[in-house]
Symmetry: C2
């Protein structure tokens, strides 16, 4: 069904899930009216606790998210989950599409689950994810979980726009080294050692503690806790929820928390601006690009000069 | 020592390694003169075979790269290696810094090895990597290997600018599923199953073959071979080198190969344009950004509108 802009605003604000899903789709498709509606709805945001969860494939993020959602549901909280699926850079379609979630949660009509596809080199995933987060926040969800697959730069960028960033590691996967490699050590507000019944959990725990002790300790700054879980048996989930609440309280009450919230907002605006720009440029200057490619191939131009010409062409 | 622009051009073109290293640094630091010099040097490019290697952490990419470099050295080829290290998004510094390479290659003065850091959310790594590749190409290297850690979108973007994209998988790491997840299946020109002496190598081989058979088979298109290696024992390296040569020949001789080369060039120009734009925007409009963040915090603006205002401000 078709909603008017005002209907969309009112229904989303009232928590109507169909209107929420519709608006997220409009935003993904970059419909101009989505942005008008969102601008209005943004006024109602700021209440949800937005939690980003990242970690290497196979770390058990989905199981963890499901266990968390179950607990929150029992406590009467409204929970939304956004799962970022990497996209085929060529076809543009999401690869996992309807990802199969082996979970009780997928059957709970009260939990909103949405898969979002990354969009190849044009980016767009951070922008679309952020928009979805704000829509869900405005719709009255208490918790919005953003789950990303992989630990690359794009994934890190997405997670950095969450209030609380959770990094999930697993013993015996070389994961402590991996965390450093991916540059996620410094963005983590909370470390989860999942599959903690495996050998090596305590040594991984110690490794993270040592790495954390190397970073500067500013007064009033947040010290990322390390929580061990076995998500498949819902072990440690209470400890994880406690740590998440504490981080939310720190964000809301301390001067350093306020500073962090400003950083998150700044990062969000930059992400959106970058992606909007890239979209604008390449929509306006497609024929120009073809010509420039040809000139580079003939070595009568070079990629750097061509890039600058492309930018100028788009600005004209 | 200081080189004049013309000296830099001449020395790099003559294969002087110190001049090469110097120009790459200038380019990383975004010195305007670097771009002038590079534009001139680009005319001398197009001879090197640029090979991108990606795969999950622990897949043995560095060992593989070392084994390849050894073989090529024996055949008298000039080899350069660019290793992309993820950067801490906060400090801006490379995390691995001087990564420790346990290799014979690091001691071979004839092999040029350069670590490059990713640059946090401002991007810049694709641009700097591409520039380095072109500099090395102009300097007369026969082979330029670009090795990326991780399988995220940014890593995929980098690898897509190589002539030949190698995806390294390992049996028993859930890697076939992982390959699909990361969207790297369609960008691979060559699959390597490393650590092929482990259990599961043949089943992984079969999985990849099945997945490949699902994709459309256009006449004249490249069919990615699957090669099994044990890099630590230099097993299968000859097969890998053969497959790489065949791909280079296909690129050089077939109409589809020419089309692919145009795509690579187009992708390169777009990458550079995106990164230049982002840099320009955020350098010009830093004070504006602070104001916009504050307005979003007070909910008198929203991130989307703020992003658009940021873009307009930078254009003024």
């Amino acid at each position: 069904m078709q909603y008017s802009d005002q209907e969309l605003i009112d229904r989303v604000a009232a928590g109507d899930l169909r209107a929420v899903a519709r608006l997220i789709t409009l935003s993904e498709n970059r419909e101009p009216r989505a942005f008008k509606v969102q601008a209005e709805l943004f006024k109602k945001t700021g209440r949800a606790h937005v939690i980003g969860i990242t970690g290497s494939p196979g770390a058990g993020k989905s199981t963890l998210v499901d266990a968390l959602a179950s607990e929150w549901r029992k406590a009467g909280k409204k929970v939304a989950i956004i799962a970022i699926d990497p996209t085929s850079p060529f076809s543009g379609g999401a690869i996992l599409g309807d990802r199969i979630r082996m979970s009780r949660i997928a059957e709970d009509p009260e939990v909103f689950i949405r898969s979002m596809a990354t969009r190849g080199s044009l980016g767009g995933v951070s922008r679309a994810t952020l928009d979805a987060v704000h829509i869900l926040d405005a719709a009255g969800f208490d918790i919005v979980l953003v789950e990303t697959v992989g630990v690359g730069q794009a994934e890190v960028d997405i997670v950095r726009t969450a209030d609380t960033c959770v990094v999930v590691l697993v013993p015996g996967m070389g994961d402590s080294v991996q965390a450093i490699k991916a540059g996620i050590l410094e963005i983590a507000d909370l470390f989860i050692i999942n599959k903690a019944d495996r050998e090596g959990a305590d040594s991984l725990h110690k490794d993270i503690r040592v790495l954390l002790s190397l970073s500067e300790d500013k007064p009033g700054s947040w010290k990322p806790p390390i929580v061990q879980t076995v998500a498949t048996e819902t072990k440690g989930i209470d400890g994880m929820i406690k740590a998440l609440s504490e981080h939310a309280a720190w964000l809301a009450s301390s001067p350093q928390g306020k500073e962090k919230r400003l950083q998150i907002l700044e990062h969000s605006i930059r992400q959106i601006a970058e992606e909007l720009l890239a979209e604008q440029i390449f929509e306006r200057s497609r024929p120009e690009l073809k010509k420039l490619v040809q000139r580079c191939l003939e070595r009568s131009s070079d990629p750097h000069s061509a890039a600058n010409e492309l930018i100028s062409a788009a600005r004209r």
